[in-house]
Symmetry: C2
Subunit: 424 residues, 2 copies
């Protein structure tokens, strides 16, 4: 992974000045890592070289893995699945469901949409699974998330109706001693722990992400090693994450309302959704915050790019692309098309030209942007990107003088919802 | 479909004043409909009661339909597929790919991502289709879209390699006499026409959307009738679309940067993406424009809603929800959860409480919003919503004094891309 800030619109001098403001905080972060201190808000930094976490997850994977495992059904919402899905989708690609021989697969049940859950139930019943073909993985940090409770209860009922030993195929990931933890352990259901101070949007490298990913076949040692290397370089000499945080902060100060994250790999849409939560919940408070949006190349060139190029200049764009593509050659002669210059080309080269052409158009229009270049789309690069972005968000929070780890206003709708449920 | 603007933040008096500004334009639109005038920019309004269009599409559907049809592979990008996918996903739901008996299915190949297309090729080869199991549907208004040309050529090569009579199973939808039209007809491939003045983002009710939808089993007569009823009422006495356009315009004038479209039905994410293009390309020019974003309830309550409630007040929110849900009852006793009040409830009631609770929180925070209430998620309601939004966008363009039908800046990246391709 490589970052380029040539067209960020922020001068090197400004960046240099701001860096000194962050030096104390960087030292704090270094100390948290060194002390393996999970009691701080930034405790998630300790996950990626936590040998006992890795051992615990691997043990659980061994216990739950079976040759006939087909689906790992993940019941969780927000930070309980967005990171897992980001890595899964990036590595499996958009046609995973068509790859009939590629098992086990991850499924995600997030919201309590009645149609959606009914369709899942219908699918589940038709499949008539045998024991071991399905694992239910319930993830809720607090143990008190309404959607997860609702979907969890519905799905557990299904599961209990189909298998006598349903508990063997169920795993719960939650905070130690949460009500969910206690009821799971008292029923004899296996549990995995989320460290108390590791919030949902920073939890992908805890059991929240590692367990389902490993069970589905992702090499979590590669994930951990890559994230750990990135963490160490970001906090020790490679200033890319620091500079990125400063640029976002400065652009916000210059009136940018939106941080558009423009991914030129269709498999990275879920990664964008993960980032959207990370930035939205971390920076959106006290009347401040950048609104994160996700754009997909080249699809959105035929959708919102007219607005981006011709509309208000209120966006700072973060382009994410790769310089290595799978070989996919075009036919030497066109059958239908009159477009010249595509015959016999590699598809990756066409995409690269579209991506570079887009950046040149942004430059010509005076629109500021950064570039993140991934060395292919794989667990190593995605893990590195995610760790980088989590550190960036901590630093951005510090510059904004806000708490990047809480989400106080989310309570507002929860209170109103509870009132309405009580009225019924 | 019903609209409520009680919390729009714009006074009735302001709305009333602006209405007079639009009265001439409304008369123009009425005349276009009456004259069935496809030569105007607003010609898309004539689609929904065009009997010859419906007959032509039905004829083609009869010709291409076979009992063993499994996949209709749609090759197109932007306006060539977003509307089709919106209706398809809304009616089929999120688990379509798991419903193994439910054929034919629509597939969409939009971008020229090498991994993505390679995965499709691998899937196609493994399936070893027999004649009639797959229809290739190539959609390109201009006939000169790079992505569609590239994917089209790759896929046609596959198709030619597998079936001698591949032309029988191929359809091209494009402008009459475009280069693509001409090469298709000269090869003897069936073509469907897009009226010249009907732009991509306004084309869902042309053959672009109708043909694949009808072939997949959507009742397009219901679609047309619903859209036509909505069109007529929006232009004759029901002022909801007019008021919505005025509110968006006024909120933009008050400094709102973002129009967040918050859908409380997971099947409507693709509808949001269709709307994103409609608003982005129609209003984003001359340095003006609202940035459309798509949020999904209840997923995004656990992601960006912290920002929406606690961050900058720069968003006008359009809530879209329904008041009828499929029955999906929760177990009478919880197995794991300690959350009170969910036992035995209907899942739809829980979702409704979450949705209403969210709106109450917005109201308490002084955040303006509109409500669109769908009478269920089905082709009738979605068609009505889409026609409503297209009319709203024409009216908004008029208020903004911009051309809501062109996309001039999109050329910028195309020019740069072509330069880069020529360099290689």
């Amino acid at each position: 992974m490589k970052c380029i800030y040539t067209n960020s619109g922020i001068s090197e001098q400004t960046i240099k000045q701001r860096k000194t403001e962050l030096s104390t905080y960087i030292k704090d972060l270094q100390k948290i890592v060194k002390d393996h201190n999970y009691d701080k808000d930034e405790g998630s930094l300790c996950l990626v070289d936590d040998a006992s976490l890795l051992a615990e997850v691997k043990k659980m994977v061994e216990k739950k893995r079976s040759k006939n495992l087909k689906y790992i059904v993940n019941i969780g919402i927000g930070g309980s699945y967005l990171g897992t899905k980001a890595i899964y989708d990036a590595t499996r690609g958009a046609f995973d469901l068509f790859q009939k021989e590629q098992y086990p697969k991850l499924l995600f049940l997030d919201t309590t949409d009645a149609e959606y859950i009914s369709q899942f139930i219908s699918f589940y019943k038709k499949e008539d699974f045998t024991p071991g073909e399905v694992i239910f993985n319930i993830i809720s940090k607090s143990g008190g998330t309404t959607e997860t409770a609702v979907n969890g209860e519905v799905v557990l009922q299904l599961f209990k109706d189909s298998f006598e030993n349903w508990k063997e195929y169920t795993v719960v990931t939650t905070d130690k001693d949460s009500p969910l933890w206690n009821s799971a352990t008292s029923l004899g259901i296996d549990v995995l722990e989320i460290p108390k101070k590791v919030g949902g949007r920073y939890s992908v490298f805890s059991a929240v992400g590692l367990f389902p990913l490993a069970l589905s076949g992702v090499d979590i040692e590669v994930v951990m090693k890559s994230a750990s290397t990135t963490r160490d370089s970001c906090l020790n000499g490679d200033d890319s994450a620091i500079e990125s945080a400063i640029i976002l902060f400065e652009q916000m100060g210059r009136g940018m309302a939106i941080n558009d994250n423009f991914y030129f790999h269709i498999e990275l849409e879920s990664l964008g959704k993960w980032y959207r939560q990370l930035m939205g919940e971390s920076t959106g408070k006290n009347g401040k915050g950048l609104t994160p949006t996700v754009s997909m190349g080249s699809v959105d060139l035929h959708s919102v790019v007219q607005l981006y190029l011709g509309g208000p200049k209120n966006k700072y764009t973060s382009f994410v692309y790769t310089n290595s593509f799978q070989e996919c050659e075009l036919p030497k002669h066109n059958t239908l098309s009159h477009i010249k210059g595509i015959e016999g080309k590699n598809m990756g080269d066409v995409m690269m030209a579209i991506q570079q052409g887009t950046m040149r158009a942004y430059e010509k229009m005076g629109l500021p942007y950064s570039e993140t270049i991934l060395d292919g789309v794989n667990e190593k690069e995605i893990a590195s990107y995610m760790q980088f972005k989590m550190i960036e968000m901590m630093l951005l929070g510090k510059l904004m003088q806000i708490n990047a780890f809480d989400q106080p206003q989310v309570e507002l709708y929860k209170i109103e919802t509870k009132k309405i449920l009580a009225e019924k």
